[in-house]
Every structure is written in structure tokens, then in C-alpha cells.
């Protein structure tokens, strides 16, 4: 008894350490949290995160109030710049949508299945793990908001990480620069695949790329979709340094596109859909559209002939005032991009999607009533119903009709 009293502190120390080491060993062996450790984590998270949430809310509200009502200096100039940017991007989008259509057609031919993000949820980053060796952050969305483990977390710049643990109203997100994270990645140009991992010092490296491959610095790194968490094609970052690594692999350092040290708002990918690529809903019409682009266009119908047609129906190839009109007969000029309203009334290929809706064409017959009445050559259109006023893509202003 006397010995026990004398070494009481030491005995307690050994006991406490032994209990913790034992608990650690059990946790390491298990892949998932046991009920007791999960409870401890829930208590800790529930103690700390409400205050974090409150502080972030106060900070955001103050900042919003300041920037939305008081500090409006330079907003007008910024608005002008943004408008100009929108115009530039609209032009670019038209070009890219054509490329995308072509890609979809090719994918359909190959029976290619693609993954796409169909639903995301915005979340605010409220805190970190507080340890440099555990690169993870807490977000203000949890189980109650429909968040589940292994959901991808991204920003507009690039991928951020994945949801690791989900609590009632918060979740722990493991960042891609943590040493225990792993993301399937591929290099954009060379299409070499590897595994993206974090290092203890917080750098991100692409592993498992053979040393006999050539990887240039600056090459983009994308997700490969092989991990089953991130859909294919999301931006990860850029290669900053390539050096010979251990064994037969290269040591490729990657700078993440998203700034992981300054995360404020992120998007949690709550739904990823997989579908087989389809060329377009108006596949049949599109084929003829493409053909029609290369053929001499139909001359414009006189105005009285248009009036004679059923109200609301417009014959393809008929120019309406103020719309992008078809080019003159014999010319072989591709139609320019037109606004959705304009295209709906014009004979431009983009407009035929709308003009060939059941209300304006004889579904099944394959001929346009408007075309018949005008006496112009019949153009076969798709019997598939299409949206009359589908989501219009931003397109440049309508060109004046040459007629």
C-alpha cells in the first residue's frame, strides 16, 4: 500500500497511457469508427462547431452588409467589364457548344457512358481540424442536409476533397493534400494516369507514373473518375515539378487549382448521374440540318404567303423581319449564331429545333406544313417532340437580314 501511495502518480500515468495506446491500437485495426469513438467525436464537434458557425455567420453578414450597401466603389466599372466579358464568353460558348455537339455524336457512336454532376450543394467552410497533420476542414452542412460520406467536394477552380465524416449539421472534409487521401487522376495531354496523394508537408504529388514517360511542367491534371468519387474531367491542378522518384516512378508535384489554404465556400456534389451519350434530342433533324447547311438555301417567301400560313407556324427557310435570314439562293454560307427568339422564326438550323415542334410540323409525316404551303422543297424534320422554348443559350445579337 505504501508503494502504491508513493508511486501513485506514476501508476496513474502508466494506466492512462496504456489505456490510450490500447484504444489507439483498436482504432487502427478497425476501418470504421466504433460507437464509443464516434460518440467522443460527436461531442467534440458539437461543442466546437456551433461557435464556429456563429462566428462565420457574423463575419459573412457583416461583410455582405458592407459590400452590398456601403462599399460600392468601382461597381459601375466592374459591371461594364463583366458585361464585356459576358459578350466574349457568349461567343465562345456558341463555338464550344458546336464542339460539344460533335463530341456527343461521336460518343454516341461509341456507346460511350459519361458521368456528370447533376446536383450540388453549396456549403460554408467553418473550421479546420486544428492540426497540420490532419488536413481537413469542417463545412456547415451535414446529415440533415443530405450529405453522405464519400461525396466529392469541389470549388469553381478545382477539386477540394471528399466528405469523410458526417455529423448532424456539419461534415468533415478530407482535403486532397492530406497524406491519407487518394484521387484517381490523369494528365490532360499525355493521358497518363496516376494516383494523386498529399504529403506530410502538405504538397500534392501524382504517383504511379512510370519514369520512362515524359511529363512537361505546367500540364493540367484532371480527375480520371477511377476512384468512384470524383467524376472524370474535373480540374485538379497543374504540374509544377517533375523529378525521378523512388523505384520506377516519377515524382510529379502538382499545385492544386483550388486554393486549399483559403477555402470559404465549397460545393458538395450530392448527385452524379451516368448516362449514355446521345447526339441530341433532335437527332434526325440535326442530320438534315447539317446537310441543309451545305445546300443552297430556300429563297425567302413573300410576306403575304407567311400570313396565309397558320398562326404561329413558320416555315423553315422563311425570313422574318428582324431575324437572321437565310442566305440568298445559291450561296453556301453557314448561318451565324442567332438569338433563340430569332432562330425560332428563321430557317436557320438552330431554329429548326423549335420550328419542328408538333405544333408547327406534321409529326410523323416528316414534312413541314409551312414548307408545303409555300411551295418550297419539303424538308424532313424529326417527329420527336422538342421544347418550343427550351433553355436558350446566350448567343450574340441577331444580324440584319440581307433582304
Amino acid at each position: 500500500m505504501d508503494v502504491l501511495g508513493r508511486y501513485r502518480n506514476l501508476i496513474v500515468l502508466v494506466g492512462v497511457l496504456f489505456a490510450q495506446v490500447l484504444g489507439l491500437a483498436v482504432q487502427v485495426k478497425r476501418t470504421t469508427d466504433s460507437e464509443s469513438t464516434r460518440l467522443i467525436r460527436i461531442w467534440a464537434v458539437d461543442t466546437v462547431t456551433p461557435l464556429e458557425k456563429a462566428l462565420v455567420w457574423a463575419q459573412t453578414s457583416t461583410s455582405n452588409l458592407w459590400h452590398s450597401y456601403f462599399y460600392l466603389r468601382g461597381v459601375r466599372a466592374e459591371n461594364r467589364t463583366l458585361k464585356a466579358q459576358i459578350e466574349r464568353m457568349s461567343l465562345e460558348q456558341v463555338r464550344m457548344s458546336q464542339d460539344a455537339d460533335q463530341a456527343r455524336r461521336l460518343q454516341a457512336l461509341l456507346a460511350f457512358k459519361e458521368q456528370f454532376i447533376s446536383q450540388t450543394m453549396a456549403a460554408q467552410v467553418i473550421g479546420s481540424s486544428g492540426s497540420e497533420l490532419s488536413r481537413s476542414v469542417y463545412i456547415d452542412k451535414g446529415e440533415r442536409d443530405g450529405i453522405k460520406p464519400d461525396m466529392a467536394v469541389i470549388t469553381a477552380d478545382g477539386i477540394v476533397g471528399k466528405v469523410l465524416r458526417v455529423y448532424g449539421s456539419t461534415s468533415l472534409v478530407l482535403l486532397i493534400d492530406d497524406q491519407t487521401s487518394g484521387v484517381g487522376a490523369l494528365l490532360d495531354k499525355t493521358r497518363l494516369q496516376g494516383i494523386l496523394r498529399g504529403t506530410p508537408s502538405g504538397e500534392v504529388v501524382l504517383e504511379k507514373v512510370m519514369s520512362d514517360e515524359t511529363v512537361p511542367a505546367g500540364e493540367m491534371v484532371l480527375t480520371s473518375g477511377g476512384d468512384g468519387i470524383f467524376p472524370k474531367g474535373l480540374l485538379v491542378g497543374r504540374v509544377t515539378k517533375v523529378a525521378p522518384g523512388s523505384e520506377l516512378f516519377l515524382n510529379i508535384r502538382v499545385r492544386p487549382a483550388a486554393d486549399l489554404s483559403k477555402l470559404e465556400e465549397v460545393l458538395v456534389v450530392t448527385k452524379i448521374d451516368e448516362r449514355q451519350a446521345q447526339p441530341d434530342q433532335t437527332g434526325a433533324a440535326r442530320a438534315i440540318d447539317i446537310l441543309a447547311e451545305r445546300l443552297p438555301t430556300v429563297p425567302a417567301k413573300p410576306e403575304n404567303a407567311v400570313k396565309a400560313d397558320a398562326p404561329g407556324s413558320v416555315a423553315p427557310g422563311v425570313a422574318m423581319p428582324g431575324t437572321a435570314a437565310p442566305t440568298s439562293a445559291g450561296s453556301n454560307v453557314k448561318p451565324k449564331a442567332v438569338s433563340p427568339e430569332a432562330s425560332a422564326a428563321s430557317g436557320a438550323p438552330a431554329a429548326r429545333k423549335t420550328a419542328s415542334s408538333p405544333s408547327t410540323s406534321e409529326a410523323g409525316s416528316g414534312t413541314s406544313s409551312g414548307t408545303k404551303s409555300a411551295g418550297t422543297p419539303a424538308i424532313k424534320v424529326s417527329p420527336q417532340p422538342v421544347k418550343a422554348t427550351g433553355e436558350p443559350k446566350p448567343q450574340p445579337a441577331v444580324e440584319d437580314s440581307p433582304h
Binding site: 501513485r8 502518480n9 496513474v12 500515468l13 492512462v16 497511457l17 490510450q20 495506446v21 484504444g23 489507439l24 491500437a25 482504432q27 487502427v28 469513438t37 467522443i40 467525436r41 461531442w43 467534440a44 464537434v45 461543442t47 466546437v48 461557435l51 464556429e52 462566428l55 467552410v125 473550421g127 479546420s128 481540424s129 486544428g130 492540426s131 497540420e132 497533420l133 490532419s134 481537413s136 476542414v137 469542417y138 469523410l164 465524416r165 468533415l172 478530407l174 492530406d178 497524406q179 491519407t180 504529403t199 506530410p200 508537408s201 489554404s261 483559403k262 477555402l263
Partner: protein, 172 residues
């Protein structure tokens, strides 16, 4: 006034009120999780460790020191995605060591506190490194310049924190 006698020297023993005992460690863990997101440089500091050393040296009770360290460490572990116990074990050792050393040494002066904090920072890092590598299998890099620099930074902040703790501690 209760005074403990050790090696013929008079050493004062302090205690903390219950709200201070609970809220100060919680605030330390909270700030450690919150501030590095706003101020990146703050991740070099280890507030829970400094609070553990501060409590342990003031109380001068190895039992209280190791239990405080254990509690703060487990709380800190709970916020990470690593197994619970990594910080727990490291801070238990630090709490026990700091309070044991606090009995032997005069830790009322800033210079002594500064050196003590550097010493226990390194002890903490060594224990954490060994457990993380040996038990959990984490890859870790050890860099003496980094550890010493971090130790000095933490010691500077520690001196300030100990001054704040002096204001809330009560003589037994």
C-alpha cells in the same frame, strides 16, 4: 495559504475555477481549429499544448497535469480524422512532465517559462512523431530547424498566455 515544500524550497500551488478549467481548454481547441483558416501562419502555434503546459506548471500536481493533458489531447484528436489518442498520449506526457518539473523549478519568471515551453514543445513533437509513425503508420518528416523554430514561436506566445493564465489562477 497552503504551501507545498519541495527540496527545501517554497513553491506556491495554484488552482483554477471550474469555469476557467473547462472554458480555457475549450477556447484553445476552438481557436486552434478556427484561426488557421483565417490566418494561415497561425497553424505554427499549438494553443492546446500551451494551455496544457500553463495549467500543469501552475497546479504543480502531476495527477492533475496528466489528466488535463489527456482531456485536452482527446478533444483535439476528436476534431481530426486520425485515431483518437495521438494528441491524447502526447499531451498526457507533457502534462505530467510539466507539472513534475514545475515542482522542482521556479516557473514564475518569463525566461524560465520560455525555455520550459521550447523543451516541452519538442517533447510533444517527439512523442507525437513516435506514436504517429510507430502505432498509426503515418508518414512523417522530422526537421530540427522547423521544430526549433516552431518551438521558439510557441514559447513566445506561451509567455503571453501564461501571463493571461496568471490573472485567472487562484492560490490554494
Amino acid at each position: 495559504m497552503a504551501i507545498t515544500y519541495t527540496s527545501g524550497e517554497q513553491v506556491e500551488v495554484y488552482r483554477f475555477s471550474i469555469p476557467a478549467t473547462v472554458l480555457i481548454p475549450l477556447a484553445a481547441v476552438f481557436l486552434q481549429a478556427f484561426l488557421p483558416l483565417r490566418f494561415r501562419f497561425f497553424s505554427i502555434f499549438d494553443l492546446p499544448l500551451l494551455v496544457t503546459i500553463g495549467f500543469a506548471t501552475a497546479r504543480r500536481s502531476p495527477l492533475a497535469g496528466l489528466l488535463t493533458g489527456s482531456f485536452i489531447g482527446i478533444l483535439q484528436d476528436s476534431l481530426t480524422h486520425h485515431p483518437i489518442g495521438l494528441y491524447g498520449i502526447a499531451l498526457t506526457v507533457v502534462g505530467f512532465g510539466a507539472s513534475s518539473l514545475g515542482i522542482k523549478l521556479d516557473v514564475e519568471h518569463s525566461g524560465a517559462r520560455f525555455l520550459l515551453t521550447i523543451f516541452f514543445y519538442v517533447v510533444h513533437e517527439v512523442v507525437y512523431f513516435m506514436i504517429a509513425r510507430g502505432l498509426v503508420g503515418l508518414h512523417m518528416e522530422w526537421s530540427w530547424p522547423h521544430e526549433l523554430l516552431s518551438g521558439v514561436a510557441n514559447a513566445l506566445l506561451g509567455v503571453l498566455i501564461f501571463m493571461l493564465l496568471d490573472r485567472v489562477k487562484q492560490r490554494t
